[in-house]
Subunit: 252 residues, 2 copies
DNA sequence: AGCTGACATTTTGTCTGAGTTAATTTAGGA
DNA sequence: TCCTAAATTAACTCAGACAAAATGTCAGCT
C-alpha cells in the first residue's frame, strides 16, 4: 500500500464543512470497506499499528473507527480486534455510506437498486402528499415550479428550485421517516448522476413531468400523483447513462 | 446524578454486545436529543464541563459525540461548540436513532409514520420478491412458515421463524437497500410492539396472512403479493395497542 | 480422558494533560 | 463604510500510561 494516491483535496464534498482528521480517516477506511478492499470478516489490524501506518495518533484513528462502527460497518471488541461486519449489518442508507459507496465505484446494479427504492418511496410520498398537502405546501411547490421554469436545470438556481419542489412535496407527507429517507437517497442519486449533466446538456425537459405530479397533488388525486411521480423517476433513470464511462478502473 | 448508576443491565438490547462507556454516553445523549430535552440549535456545553458532569473522561465523551455526529444528531466545530442539528439532518432510520426514539417516548404519531413507511417498502418488497424469487428463496420461506406453524409466535423459536420468513423475502428482492431499510424498520417496530405480546396472548393468528403472501410469491404474482403483504402489515398495526403502557419504565 | 476453574495474554477501552488548529469576534486601518 | 488582522475560544490532535474485557491455556479435579 504505498500510494497514498488520493490528493488531499477532499474539496468535492458539497454538503459538509471541511472534514477533520478523524473524518478523513473514517472516509478513507469506509471507502476501503464498501469497495470490498476490506472484506467482511477481515480484521483492521491493531490500533497502534493502523494508526501509525496512517500517520495519525491513536485518538484520531479510534474516533474514525467509532464513526464506522456507528454506521454498522465494523465492530470493535477487546482481544478480538476491529472486524468488518457482514454487508447486512451496514447502514446502507446512511448518507455517508451512500456517498462512499458511489464514490468508489458507481456500480450500475447498485444504482438501479437505489433508483428502485427511490421509485417506491417517492411515488408513495406523492400519493400521501396528494392526500395531506395544505395550501401552503401547494403554494411552495408552485413557486418552486416557477423557479424551475424561469431558470432551468442548467443553472444552480434552477436545480435549487427542483430540490425545493421535491423537498416541499416530502414535507407535505407529514412523515418524517419518508422525508429523511427520500432526501438522503435523492442526494446520493444526484451526486452519482451529476456526470450526466456534463455529458449532454439534458435529454428531455423535466418540467412537464413535474407539472403532472403537481396537478395531481393539487387535485388531491393520490393515485394519479403516484403514477406521475413514478413516471418522473423512471424517466430520470433513463436519462442516467447506463454505460459506465469506461474510465472506471476498478482494479486500482 | 451521582452514581455511575447504570447497573450493567442494559440487557434489553438484543442485537449488540454490552455497551462500552462511550456507547452508554452516546445513548444517553442521543435519547436526550431525540426526546427533545435538547432542542435543535442548542449547544451541548464544552467538552471539559460536559465530560466531568457525566463523570467520564474527555476521551469517552468525545467518542460519544463522534457517534452522535455520525448519525446526524449533532455537529461539532471548533470555536462554536457541539450543536444539536435540526431534525431534518437526523438519520431517523439509523437503527440506534430509531431505538432511542421509541425508547424515550413511544410517540404514537411517529409509530404510525413508521408503520406507513414499512407498509410502503415491505409491500413493494413482496412484489419484487414475487418477480425475482428463486426456488431456494421459496424453500426458505416455506421452511420458515412451517416453523411458525409448529412453534407459535408465543415461543422464541416461532418468532425466529417469523423473522426468517420476512428476511428471506427481503433477500429475494435482490435489493440491498430495501433489505437494509426494512430490516431496521421492522426491528424498531418489533421492539416497540413487544409489549403487545405480553398484554394479550395474540389477537389473531398471523399465519393465514403469511400464507397468502407466500402463495402469491410462489405463483409469481406481484400485485397479489403486494396486496397480501400490505394487508398483513396493516393488521399488525391494528394489533398494536394504541395506548402506551404506562408501566413502560425499564430500569432507571 | 474429559471437564472445570484460575491465570496469562492480547486488544480495545479509558484516563490525563499538553499543545494545535479552526472559526468567530474584535480591533485596526484604508 | 468596508476590508483586514489579531485575539479569543472552542474543538482537534497528540502522547503515553493504566484498566478492563475476551480469549486461550493449563493445572487440577472428577
Amino acid at each position: 500500500m504505498t500510494g497514498r494516491s488520493t490528493s488531499p483535496g477532499q474539496g468535492h464534498k458539497a454538503r459538509g464543512k471541511a472534514l477533520r482528521l478523524h473524518g478523513t480517516i473514517a472516509r478513507k477506511l469506509g471507502i476501503l470497506i464498501v469497495s470490498g478492499k476490506y472484506q467482511p470478516g477481515d480484521l483492521l489490524g491493531g490500533e497502534i499499528s493502523s494508526a501509525e501506518q496512517l500517520a495519525v495518533s491513536r485518538t484520531a484513528y479510534r474516533e474514525a473507527v467509532r464513526i464506522l462502527a456507528a454506521k454498522g460497518l465494523v465492530d470493535a471488541r477487546p482481544k478480538v480486534g476491529t472486524r468488518v461486519n457482514p454487508q447486512t449489518s451496514w447502514h446502507l442508507l446512511d448518507p455517508d455510506v451512500l456517498d462512499w459507496t458511489f464514490e468508489s465505484e458507481p456500480d450500475l446494479v447498485l444504482l438501479d437498486s437505489l433508483f428502485e427504492l427511490r421509485n417506491v418511496v417517492e411515488s408513495a410520498a406523492a400519493g400521501f402528499a396528494a392526500q395531506r398537502r395544505s395550501s401552503v405546501h401547494l403554494q411552495g411547490m408552485r413557486t418552486a415550479l416557477e423557479g424551475m421554469a424561469t431558470h432551468t436545470l442548467a443553472t444552480e438556481l434552477g436545480r435549487q428550485a427542483d430540490l425545493d419542489f421535491h423537498t416541499t412535496l416530502l414535507v407535505a407527507t407529514g412523515n418524517p421517516f419518508i422525508i429523511s429517507l427520500a432526501n438522503g437517497v435523492r442526494a446520493a442519486v444526484r451526486t452519482t448522476t451529476i456526470y450526466k449533466q456534463r455529458k449532454q446538456p439534458l435529454r428531455r425537459d423535466p418540467l412537464p413531468d413535474h407539472l403532472r405530479v403537481f396537478e395531481a397533488i393539487a387535485a388531491k388525486e393520490p393515485v394519479k400523483a403516484q403514477e406521475a411521480m413514478s413516471a418522473l423517476i423512471q424517466l430520470a433513470r433513463i436519462d442516467t447513462p447506463t454505460s459506465k464511462p469506461a474510465a472506471a478502473k476498478k482494479g486500482r
